[in-house]
Amino acid sequence: MNNRKSARVLTMALMAALAVPLTYGVLQLPTPGQADAPAHSNVSAKYIEAGAELAGSENLVTGVLLNFRALDTFGEVLVIFTAWLAVAAVAGGAREAGQDSIPPSPIVDYVIRLLGPFIAIFAVFVIVNGHVLPGGGFQGGVVLGAMLIMLSLVLGTGVVEGVFSDRVWIWLRAAGVLVFAMVALLGLPAAGFLFGLGQAPALRQALMMALELAIGVGGGAVLAGLYFSIAGTHRS
Amino acid sequence: MTVELFDLRPLLAVLISLACAGAVFAVRENPRWRAIWSLSAAGVKFALVWSMLPGALDGKIHAFGFGEVLPGVAFGFRVDALGLFFALVSSTLWVITTVYALAYMRNSHSLSRFFGYFALCISTTVGIAFAENLFTLFVFYELLTVCTYPLIMHNEDMAARRAGRKYLLYTLSGGALIMAGMVMVYTEAGTLSLAEGGILDASAGHASLLTIFVLLIAGFGVKAALMPLHGWLPAAMVAPTPVSALLHAVAVVKAGVFGILRVIYEVFGADLLRDLGYADWLAMLAGTVIIIASINALRQTHIKARLAWSTISQLSYIVLAACLLVPLGALASIIHIANQAFSKITMFFVAGVIERATGKTRVDELAGVGRQLPWTMTAFTVASMSFIGVPLTAGFVTKWYLSLGALQAGSEVFVGVMVISGLLNAAYWLPMIYQAFFRPLPANRPDAVSVSPMMVGPVLICAAYVILLGAGASAPAMPFSVAEAAARFAIQLGVWPQ
């Protein structure tokens, strides 16, 4: 972008050229919020009318995620694991674990240590009640990850990362992918198709719970892993 | 009554020198084995091609098809009279050139690469001769470029690299033009096969027919050194003499001219071209090329440069004869392939001998060479007589039939062109002969180094052939009768002057 002036004008023109079809096209879409819009009458109508019994969870979004469109979620879990893989493969320079962070002020230190366990409980609650209340594997995983990052800020990445050995951390991060793969294979006997959870309520419930936990723990471990890599490389 | 015979010989003819090339590459720097491999392959190929002569004489056509690579695009060989004639000339000359090259290149470097690509060249030339359709012809045409490039680059010095680059620039763009032409022929005619003779018809519309004609003629014209596209030929003279001999008498230029013959007779067909009138323009171009190239030859000081320009003008003889679109013209063009090949190769061999024996390469240094190398210079004189068109030599036959053809086609101007070119040829060959024989040897000239018989032998054999072609033109076993068969096939006209 060395000749910044002409580049800006060029992008300005591009933006204007882009804006006209975008607005005009979007305006002609069916108005959002109308009950008769195609977005509600087609696939979503089927989910709402028969979704709960078929998917086995009142929270239809989790039903869609884990049951109807399980392949998407498998892809999803894999993308987040690939992100960690990529960061680990690309992070420049050797990463020394166990480097002490700048000690935050004692108040922040004390408050975080106090809140730590409560956040953990909340994370578990969000993961476990995914099929009833809004929440689920990803959301719980993010809360778990946030807690781990907060603690490593206070206690130092070395301490939090030292809780498990490298090998265990990798297995934790891959939990989401592995459990999902196993559930997918289990789908063959259960529902006659890969990624199927079958109609037997007890089995379906157990499988969904396993998935939720795996995605939660996996997601949290990966987010923590991302922070460790970024935090580690920063200092090297 | 042409009978289509399934026969392995065309395929074997191509594969023989391929195998020989492989063997030569494998045998690395062992001169004895290399000589044995090259000569035996040359001999076997010579025998194979000549074994097909009797069959071809009484109308049998040997064919070998591989099947379709793409819909309408097949890979196959079909030995018709025209193809066989070209293969006869090239395989005969290849035996002689191999003998000559073995002697000439004895102390040169990276000889296994030289003789390997030398053999590959001939296998592609025979492949071009036997191609059943434009696609196979194009494949071997491009492979010929790839095989001759290392030969031109043999000396690996600056001049060789520049000549190689120029050669590639011309021939590869020629290949691209043919590719475009081929695509248009395929879309217009639906097939690329040269078997039916005249696959295009007037329904294709003037614009696309003219484009196809220009693309194909220009594409093949590059290798046939038609005037605007000839730039690479004089530059390629830096290559060693056997390579120039092979390139300019047998393989590359003849492939170009052969391609033009195929386009005129088998892709368009004589009748369609007569209606369209494109051939007259090409004839005019060929005529001018004959004159201008001869004038240029006058100005050249190096022997090999003069030979190169004479080749350019001789090639246009063939194109001119073909464009007359009359049976005699076709006969003249086909027979001139042999005449020009043998005469020109004799001259190249002579130039090589002179260079080896006396180290002289310029025209004005030839004073007294006749006394030093009597036999070589007599062969040179015979070849010059053939180019000038003296009776009893090969050149005369072509000029004779070409003039008859021109009269039959009603364009007398080309008879004038024949006469003028004859005079010009005399103008640039006779002084050389005069200097060689009638000027005294300069005093301080060291006496000639003795030259191995393996180099003088081929010179004499080719000179003999030139006379044989001229005198025994209508002898039965002579290639002349094959040329007649080819002409009759090419024109498919009932009337044929006996």
């Binding site: 580049a7 607005t23 108005t31 109308q34 989910y47 992100a83 420049g92 997601g219 | -």
Partner: protein, 136 residues
């Protein structure tokens, strides 16, 4: 006249389109790599907002079928899609940040102009071939 009414009812879409353009502008014109990542995130949020609004129903309840909850339910599909989209956004952003760290460590700066100008002198960002020894 109906264009204005149409525009009013589609205001949510227009806002997402505006956000999309702002994000694109930042991504394309800012010289600082971190600003580019921010621009990318703005674009991602705008697309997710757009997808969620397609599934919105006026005064509809969220798609949780607990007993006793009636009324039109918002369609659950866009929410599932956006959840997946958000995770993709997180992974792309984290990879981008690590790459920026590496660029900073190896090329000395996160400003494209500085990297470009540093590129000219055969200093930090030497072209790969002249430092071929990396593979010896």
């Amino acid at each position: 006249m109906n264009l204005a009414a149409e525009a009013f009812s589609h205001v949510d879409y227009l806002v997402t389109v505006a956000l999309f353009l702002i994000g694109a502008w930042i991504l394309l014109t800012s010289g600082n790599l971190v600003k580019k990542v921010i621009g990318l995130n703005i674009m991602e949020t705008s697309v997710f907002a757009f997808i969620v609004t397609t599934g919105m129903i006026d005064d509809g309840a969220p798609p949780l079928l607990a007993a006793g909850v009636e009324g039109p339910f918002a369609s659950p599909l866009p929410h599932a899609l956006v959840l997946t989209g958000i995770v993709v956004a997180v992974s792309v952003t984290s990879l981008a940040l690590v790459l920026i760290l590496r660029v900073k460590a190896e090329l000395g700066s996160v400003e494209l102009d500085e990297i470009a100008s540093a590129g000219e002198q055969p200093g930090a960002a030497a072209p790969p071939d002249s430092r071929g020894h990396a593979n010896d």
